[in-house]
Symmetry: C2
Amino acid sequence: MNEIPGPIAPPARLLMGPGPISAYPSVLTAMSAALVGQYDPFMTATMTETQELYRRVWGTSNDATVLIDGTSRAGIEAAMISLIRPGDRVLVPVFGRFGHLLAEIAERAMAEVHTIEVPWGQVFPVSAIEQAILAVKPQLLGLVQGDTSTTMLQPLDEVGALCAKHGVLFYSDATASLGGNPFEADAWGLDAATAGLQKCLGGPSGSAPITLSERAVELIRSRKKIEAGIREEGDEDAADFIRSNYFDLGMILDYWGPRRLNHHTEATSMLYGARECARLLLLEGRDEVIARHRLHGAAMLAGVQGLGLTVFGDLAHKMTNVVAVEIPEGVPGDAARTAMLTDFGIEIGTSFGPLHGRVWRIGTMGYNARTDAVLQTLAALETVLRRFCAPVAANGGVDAAQGIYASAGR
Amino acid sequence: MNEIPGPIAPPARLLMGPGPISAYPSVLTAMSAALVGQYDPFMTATMTETQELYRRVWGTSNDATVLIDGTSRAGIEAAMISLIRPGDRVLVPVFGRFGHLLAEIAERAMAEVHTIEVPWGQVFPVSAIEQAILAVKPQLLGLVQGDTSTTMLQPLDEVGALCAKHGVLFYSDATASLGGNPFEADAWGLDAATAGLQKCLGGPSGSAPITLSERAVELIRSRKKIEAGIREEGDEDAADFIRSNYFDLGMILDYWGPRRLNHHTEATSMLYGARECARLLLLEGRDEVIARHRLHGAAMLAGVQGLGLTVFGDLAHKMTNVVAVEIPEGVPGDAARTAMLTDFGIEIGTSFGPLHGRVWRIGTMGYNARTDAVLQTLAALETVLRRFCAPVAANGGVDAAQGIYASAGR
């Protein structure tokens, strides 16, 4: 390549996969706002304001509520590497791909990792988690709330009390679920929770909201290390310091906090985007956004069933915002997805691991938890399925979805 | 706070500090382009295209040329944690704050860290580096190219041959310098180099370009670990795996490479922005952009000298894109900076460590390496200095800068 390409010009896409999804228009607008300096009063005020917005998103009064500059996985690693001392026992109940990820990141943090598993498509009864806590006696429980790989939503509301009873730190990743399903960081007794913008929050990947309880912050503070270039009198390293500078939450909190101690240079555009995601959510109302995800998720579920597709997993524990459907016998899954994308500009998702080639995943998240997005997807899917000779009732998907909307008075 | 704030509305700012600086307008436009899916053909093509653009920015044919999703410090940590095995000897010549940062990140990676230092405002002769290599016998040399804390530019052109001779991996961070000063990854024998967008590349913080030699990639590949959730037959972990998942460059290369093995969800908006930064640089021409930084940097230097300010550091080794000036006796440094910001909307920088309170740092980078930006800054600074009773020649700064422009035929 010696010529220089033109400005970026993405094709029109309706992103109805498991995420990333199409961002809210005003989030994209916020991404292009002018930059200001790292310690400009407007910048520090925007950081503080964004912290407060995310406290309300998380349902917490945790002072330690910030953004990690990286994708959702950066938030997970920041939480785990800051909370796990090498040799700590970590328990990860695995019910999909992202449980494996938590276990893997704990291994990288040199933990003694214990997993329990249920078949994909199920979640854990709280009794199974307690049994494993009693057997493993972990320092930390890492539990995904919603795992898009299976579409399942793990109930968390009783887990915090369990962890408190047994002296276990309770960490959950809510990347796939936050905003579209209830999450109550304080009421559920979370010590740490992480997310990303690219699912129900309706923003681009690249910023990871995180919140930490006082107990978590205390542990992190005990593992402090300050870089020589900005070390001041009285600063001393813990022997057991965190094995990452970028993800050292103690330093990150000192940067976001009143000391404003220089760490990274905050990713200003991502901050603007993250702020707008939270702002939109709170403007619409936290409960209202969840209700909207529930409605359009129910419409999509009825729609795919109306198309004669079999839904994967335990429907009693499905996230509101994504559904997995078995690819019908005889239909080439990837060719059908390609037809959806190239002919209609609509993206639906493939799958990982044991479900690879077996199911498609269809999301209704953030901006795309909308009637027109749901109906367009179902109408397009009907024609594509029929083209590949699957038996489909005419209007089966759209009619079923509209039935849901009608019964909801919409 | 119970009300919801309005959309983000940053004040007008001319960012003339050491970075972050005002982004190119078309970079901000690119930041707001519509998102596409993670494996959309447009997305993967854009990733591939961006790699090729950055190869030309770095002056390399390295296949392993990608972006790290995080700030420039994320790129540094990815390089160091992936290349340093616990117990490795790492040599860091420190000539400013960011040398300390490299040493600190190497410590976090459990290296045996050796530093040599010169006083702030100087750089290392290559003989001093060779002497230290002979004494320490490091596995890796970590050397900042440009350290904004001192404005110095360390010559790198002979260091690669030295490292090759002694079997040392050669890593440099060029965050502060890339784009505004020559950098030749291949010709200078770099094994790894990292940068950020928020300096001469004229973009927002949040994406870290990185390039790796084949030798570096080989080392990284030997430390492979694949997460269970996407493990396939034949994948096996190295005992000596990299102690981070997010910064495991082997996994990141498999995601950017033809395998497209799922790792993080690429930060699409940051990718668009990073692409536009490189595109603009190559459109204008790599040498032409450096010449522009050299011209406007010279004008700013002459300008501050024309205002009677004393310049800090060894001018023979100053970066083109930033100058440090001593705060005149009797002038309150922070109050003057505040006046520049609140009265004129112009940001100039404070300093770290031994220079804290002693110098201001003034940058001419990326979009702001422009005549009007330079002259506005000098005119405003003249009035502010005079307000604080510093002796300043009328028009001293602007006239001196215009002299530089005139002699350059501009």
